[in-house]
């Protein structure tokens, strides 16, 4: 498990500032799937009972229906859980020193990327669309020095606030790095 107080590769004084996940609307499709899973077996039961009233009088057919129903429900439930895992394990962790981008792809593929705050050059927040505007969620793009590829927070809540936070942290981190470099130079020359 990831302990936010002791992130992998962290320095002793590193503090976690924000833990970001996709907005809860990403789980709407999961909710719809769940309702469908609940309705489908019950609907099938009533549809079969209506079309062939004597179908469930036979214990063999009832047993087969129960076996099929439980198998369907169990596997559908597992599918939903795995979908939730995919959502839950996608993380962006902002500390006062760096940004960690952890992405889960399916069950067995995982990408962990790290970005030092002092390398950040530009941060862009994007809120696009009616629902995104109403619920205040969107993307944040982070451009680093010397790299064409952008670091991206997808569908996170309050993107403008997060963009400002990242910019402030990056500026503070840069000043600290600069201060340390000047101090080191002065000690070296003196």
């Amino acid at each position: 498990m990831i302990d936010l107080q002791h992130l992998p590769g962290s320095t002793p004084d590193e503090k976690t500032v924000a833990l970001l996940r996709r907005h809860w609307t990403s789980l709407v499709s999961l909710g719809i799937s769940f309702i469908f899973i609940l309705i489908l077996p019950v609907g099938t039961f009533f549809a079969v009972g209506y079309a062939v009233p004597e179908f469930f009088d036979d214990p063999v057919r009832t047993t087969l229906f129960v076996l099929g129903l439980s198998t369907f429900f169990l596997y559908a439930w597992l599918f939903l859980y795995q979908h939730y895992i995919d959502y839950h394990l996608d993380l962006w962790i902002v500390t006062d020193n760096r940004i960690l981008n952890i992405e889960q792809h399916g069950l067995f593929a995982r990408t962990v990327a790290e970005l030092r705050l002092h390398r950040i050059q530009d941060v862009t927040a994007e809120v696009h669309g009616f629902l995104h505007t109403m619920l205040d969620y969107g993307n944040v793009y982070i451009q680093t020095a010397g790299e064409t590829q952008r670091f991206q927070f997808e569908d996170i809540p309050h993107p403008n606030q997060i963009a400002k936070l990242v910019l402030d942290l990056a500026e503070k981190n840069r000043q600290e790095e600069l201060g340390e470099a000047v101090e080191e130079f002065q000690n070296g020359s003196g």
Binding site: P59, V60, V66, L67, L74, L78, I85, L107
Partner: protein, 83 residues
């Protein structure tokens, strides 16, 4: 005529595969997630519902007469007969 017990064996095999996949999924969740109450809660709910469904199905299956068989040519008509 197909013995009903064949379907029980098929169900048990599928259940075994299910348990394996569920264990792998829960391990991944616990291993790679951030330590939080939501991680434990979601895994607990998943486990609880799965155990509930398996238990209810198991209780029902204990009442079934496994000597019965399914006549494929007569699947939508008439009662089944013992083998």
């Amino acid at each position: 005529m197909i013995p009903l017990s064949i379907f029980l064996i098929a169900w048990l095999i599928l259940l075994g595969i299910y348990v394996l996949l569920a264990l792998v999924s829960m391990t991944q969740m616990i291993r790679f997630s951030v330590a939080s109450s939501m991680t434990y809660f979601s895994t607990g709910v998943f486990l609880l519902v799965a155990i509930l469904v398996i238990s209810v199905t198991g209780i029902y299956l204990m009442t079934v007469d496994w000597t019965l068989g399914l006549d494929m040519g007569n699947i939508f008509q008439g009662p089944s007969i013992p083998l």
